[in-house]
């Protein structure tokens, strides 16, 4: 099967079973490079399970999750890589990863997929700055000669740490948390914690940023700020974004592409406007296809 050139993440026949329960059933979709893709669906549709498969926290029961770095021609290696049993393969200017074969930390470290969590997972007892430095662990670890040079106090590590702090400072400025840099993360208000978690994920330099309900619990103003932040992340760095969201104002306003899940099955896939008018989607959200209620939903999402 040919994969389109601008595809960044190619999910194919993804199935996740927990005992007898099929949480995700034969799901296939693509995330395009430089786009914001939204994964929506009613509660319990299996959205977070898809995230957990992509980021390696679950090992899918079946399916293939390809991720490309660099040259689009890398997709030509997909079948060869699958047959080889390796985790990734490089050629000329491109590398192809099979995420289902990688442990979670390598997905972030090598395949450069970062994520946030539905129930925010910061390091509450560490400062905001420390949170962002932990996100740059692997680079700093190399710079500290895997601790050895660092213990001896060699200057190369000092320079790397300063660079890491500068990067953290830049992100803090961007999410408006610079003056809280030395406060413990657990003391921040809820909306700020959400922004910090995004900044922390961005400090790992991802090509794909996966956000699990980033607007949950935010007020309308904070929601609007979030939209701006995500759009600017994409604009400045070309980072692709995959997000799970219930807040339709976020989904409709910023996403380029929407995928709808219901009971682990994909029921719609396309641009936001088309998905919004899809009868199956409306039925899934309401449970019935009642004309009146459909109209209500349309009013709400529009």
């Amino acid at each position: 099967m040919a994969v389109a050139g601008n595809t960044l993440l190619h999910v194919e026949h993804l199935t996740m079973r927990f005992g007898g329960l099929v949480a995700v059933d034969d799901l296939s979709f693509d995330v395009n490079e430089g786009e914001i893709t939204a994964l929506i669906g009613p509660n319990g549709a299996g959205k977070t399970t898809v995230f957990n498969c992509i980021t390696g926290f679950y090992h899918p029961s079946e399916g293939r999750l390809g991720l490309r770095h660099g040259d689009a021609a890398a997709w030509d290696m997909l079948d060869a890589l699958t047959d080889s049993g390796a985790r990734y393969r490089s050629q000329r200017g491109g590398t192809l990863f099979l995420l289902e074969r990688m442990p979670d930390y390598l997905i972030t470290h090598q395949a450069r997929v970062a994520r946030t969590f539905q129930n925010i997972r910061l390091f509450p007892g560490m400062t905001v700055l420390e949170n962002l430095l932990v996100a740059q662990h692997n680079r700093l670890m190399r710079a500290s000669g895997y601790t050895l040079f660092g213990i001896l106090g060699l200057s190369s590590y000092g320079a790397a740490e300063r660079a890491a702090i500068d990067k953290a400072r830049a992100w803090l400025e961007r999410v408006g948390l610079l003056d809280r840099a030395d406060d413990p993360a657990g003391e921040l208000p809820y909306g700020a914690q959400r922004r910090l978690e995004i900044a922390r994920a961005m400090c790992t330099d991802p090509v794909l940023l996966c956000l699990d309900e980033p607007a949950a619990g935010l007020n309308p103003r904070e929601s609007a700020e979030l939209n701006e932040l995500l759009l600017s992340i994409r604009a400045d760095r070309g980072t692709s974004v995959l997000l799970i969201e219930h807040d339709m104002s976020v989904v409709m306003e910023i996403s380029d592409h929407v995928i709808v899940l219901d009971y682990g099955v994909k029921i719609a896939d396309g641009p936001p406007r088309a998905v919004r008018d899809d009868a199956k989607v409306i039925a899934a959200y309401l449970g019935v296809a009642d004309e009146e209620e459909v109209a209500e939903v349309e009013a709400e999402v529009g």
């Binding site: 980021t55 926290f57 979670d104 930390y105 390598l106 972030t108 470290h109 970062a114 994520r115 969590f117 997972r121 910061l122 390091f123 509450p124 007892g125 560490m126 400062t127 700055l129 420390e130 430095l133 932990v134 996100a135 740059q136 662990h137 692997n138 700093l140 670890m141 500290s144 895997y146 601790t147 660092g150 213990i151 106090g153 590590y157 740490e161 702090i165 400072r169 610079l178 840099a181 030395d182 406060d183 413990p184 657990g186 003391e187 922390r200 994920a201 790992t204």
Partner: protein, 474 residues
Amino acid sequence: MSASGDRAGEQPRAPRGPAGPIPAARAIDRLASSVREAAITAALAFGLFLPLIGFETVTNMRNEVTLKTRWPLLFAITAAVAIGRLAYMLTLGPALGRRRLRAAPAPSAWRARAGGLFVPFAIALVVLYPALVIVLNGSSGALKWIDNFGIQILIYVMLGWGLNIVVGLAGLLDLGYVAFYAVGAYSYALLAKTFGLAFWILLPLAGILASFWGILLGFPVLRLRGDYLAIVTLAFGEIIRIVLVNWVDLTNGYAGIGGIPRPTFFGIPFNAGDDGFAAVFGLEFSPLHRTIFLYYIILALALLTAYVTVRLRRLPVGRAWEALREDEIACRSLGINTTNTKLTAFAMGAMFAGFAGSFFAARQGFISPESFTFIESATILSIVVLGGMGSQIGVAIAAVIMIGGTEIMRELDFLKDIFGQTFDPTQYRMLFFGLAMVVIMVVRPRGLISRREPSVFLRERKTISADLVKEGRG
């Protein structure tokens, strides 16, 4: 025991406004309820102590167990508990209750400044300690104070700091830490006796061997969490001890290994001979020389542990340990290899235990499995937790209180004048040790110093309150 019984069901009383009863009636009311409370406590204490204090099992000449009674003691203890409870209810209880309702006061500027001076002052004190003791007690009395107090406490400070890396920073609960201490001690003893290698060569070697064992034992258990990890590490600790007991060919079993070479002053032995330390330096021979030398070795080792830990906390690996304690899943989502990170914490902690172990063997000249029982692990862990997990100053203070406190019970000979010549205060050492563990935990569940100092800051270093710092699940 019952005296500190907290009536958990008791709600804070309604505010006493002008509508409340008149003061005299209130005082009588309070007295009555206190007396009732004290009577209940007395009845409980009586029941609690009736079998074990009321009766004493005595083995007679024919090796039969017979009973003796101790009614006066039982009644005295019951009365003491009742009076203590009554006094608590009438004086301290209400005051403590009120204090608990108020928020903790913010540390004052004076205290912050004193805190900054504390570390240099404490280091100066421990460096000058032997001289101080000699001045105060004369050279004959000083031996005990340097050896039993100074060296003994410093060993536990070092072990506490080593375990603090594993428990306090990485949040991994290790109840078998003594195993690595044993590995260090036996490595030194066996290698020094078999190959005649010097202390300074074997010290790092013992540390490396112990950290190797740390990785070996750590690897299979690191996916376990919390109490389970604690129990498996306990099991490993016990397995190593049982092997030491039973592998008689290597370890000489319960009899232990004696005649372990003592450290020399860079090749000059501490003996009364012509090439001994005293003769070379033109001093009169005294066993104190070696003790003072040992004191400075363990002081240097302990300070090394503290220094390395302080450095590590500011390096990515140290931050990753703390992040691991805060949230392991978030660490994985940030590309941190949590297995390796945990293993480095285990290995690092084990290495310092190995250093301490080889020092212990060199200081004692004799080791046996008796020195490496579970109680040792529990002691070290309790020092870490009582001190406040992660806080090096807290750990040091806890070691001084717990080890110094139990050692000082050996010195309380004047109690014999009160309780009679058969009274032996040393018997009560571990009893009070256990009691202190319970009491400190109940009073300060997060330990003596529970605030966290950030490892890096942009503008100002702000201490982080203990309520935010997680304790780790692993």
